[in-house]
Amino acid sequence: MAIIVQTKELAQTIVASVVAGVGVTLVFSIAIWGAARFVDLNRSQRPVAAGAAAALGAVALAVTLATGVVGIVVMTSK
């Protein structure tokens, strides 16, 4: 039965899907949070905190894009 079901490949597919799907959404949400906080903090004249939020957002955005590219390369290469 284990041979027919291909348990290992199926488990790897599930793990990869969860990690990639949830991971990218998590990191992109942090990017959005950073951008939204930057706007609010900038309006409240808090440049240091605004800069930190912007930096966090920018890093998260870069990680999102990089994850997408790496994901495509890894998942489609064999």
Partner: protein, 364 residues
């Protein structure tokens, strides 16, 4: 000469199937992007077509599965593949006609399995490949997409829930351009390969390619072109209906649903699982809806999808078997497939003519 003619008919039929696959699935790929206004319909559909085309080039694992792991290539003939394709296209058109959601992928595999069994008995089916690489992943993948999208939207609301909605909505709309693009790429990768696999199977059956061969470049290019053209053509048709048929969702839900769908399809493609992209994407959309509010999901639609899923494989298999029987009534040459093609086209013309005449009658 006779078998070459059958092969030409098979390739033409397979590419027609690929076109209808793209046509049929455009809504799945661009619906969330359009409904959240992340992109204008024309832009979303143009990008989806281009990325479907490109997606077809980045892997051949699924094509290898369809060509080598579902039915025994040693007993397959081009006529069997032809009959399988007729079964798939016929079931796609029947479900489209009745307004039932269905999977082109399951129809294709069901059609080929049905015609193979009709021709060579149950031994023609490779049970390990059919169960392990098609049936089990077909059940698991939409569930995973549902869970990933549900989990993702929960995380999104936890992180950005207290921020002002304006910047958050705009941000996720931009994100949807990327996640929608990934989904279109994933769709092209998995779905175009099924047609490549079927054409490759026919080429192997005809002796044009050796056993366990990969698809030649011309097969990849033609399958990519057919699905991209189908996606583009189907897109214009859905523009008019997009606003009424799609579940209303916010841009964060759209991003989560598309991200989940793309992740599941790309991961499955890596292992050569030929999925129903329709079911995966719908699983992601329902997960993103349920993650916000369980009652937001149209569970009746989910039930219809489940019924269609259960029916598609056996129904397409039955039509594929019948098409094989018809194709071989007049012998094993090219005459049978030619006659079945003409009969099929005639039925289509009559059906569409009647439908158009019905549609042109004022509703009163």
């Amino acid at each position: 000469m006779s078998s070459d003619l059958v092969l030409v008919i098979v390739v033409g039929t397979a590419l027609a199937f690929d076109f209808t696959n793209g046509f049929h699935d455009t809504a799945n790929v661009v619906a969330t992007t359009i409904s959240t206004r992340a992109a204008r319909p024309q832009v979303a559909i143009g990008i989806a077509s281009l990325l479907n085309f490109l997606g077809a080039f980045i892997s051949i694992s699924v094509a290898a599965t369809v060509a080598n792991d579902v039915v025994n290539a040693d007993v397959i003939t081009p006529t069997i593949v032809f009959a399988g394709l007729i079964g798939a296209i016929a079931w796609n058109l029947i479900t489209w006609w009745l307004g039932l959601p269905s999977s082109s992928s399951h129809a294709l595999i069901g059609g080929v399995v049905g015609s193979a069994v009709a021709a060579a008995g149950i031994d023609a089916v490779l049970a390990e490949g059919l169960v392990g690489k098609v049936l089990i992943p077909a059940v698991v993948a939409p569930v995973v997409a549902f869970l990933v999208a549900g989990l993702s939207i929960g995380i999104v609301y936890r992180i950005v829930g207290r921020q002002r909605p304006g910047p958050v909505t705009r941000g996720f709309r931009y994100g949807q351009v990327i996640s929608g693009g990934l989904l279109a790429l994933a769709h092209g990768t998995n779905d175009a390969q099924k047609t490549m696999g079927v054409i490759t199977l026919a080429l192997i059956a005809n002796g044009t390619l050796g056993p366990n061969s990969d698809p030649p470049l011309w097969v990849i290019v033609s399958a990519a072109t057919a699905i991209a053209l189908g996606t583009y053509s189907g897109g214009w048709r859905i523009i008019r209906t997009t606003g009424t048929r799609i579940i209303k969702m916010d841009s964060a839900q759209g991003f989560s649903a598309q991200g989940a769908g793309a992740a599941v399809i790309l991961a499955s493609t890596h292992f050569g699982f030929p999925l129903s992209t329709t079911h995966v994407i719908n699983g992601g959309v329902m997960g993103a809806g349920a993650g916000k509010r369980v009652s937001a999901v149209r569970w009746g639609v989910a039930g219809n999808i489940m019924v269609a899923w259960l029916l598609t494989l056996p129904a397409a298999a039955a039509i594929g078997a019948a098409a094989y029987g018809l194709s071989t009534v007049v012998g094993s040459g090219a005459l049978g497939p030619v006659l079945v093609s003409l009969l099929f086209i005639s039925v289509l013309v009559v059906a569409f003519t009647r439908r158009e005449q019905g549609a042109s009658v004022p509703a009163g």
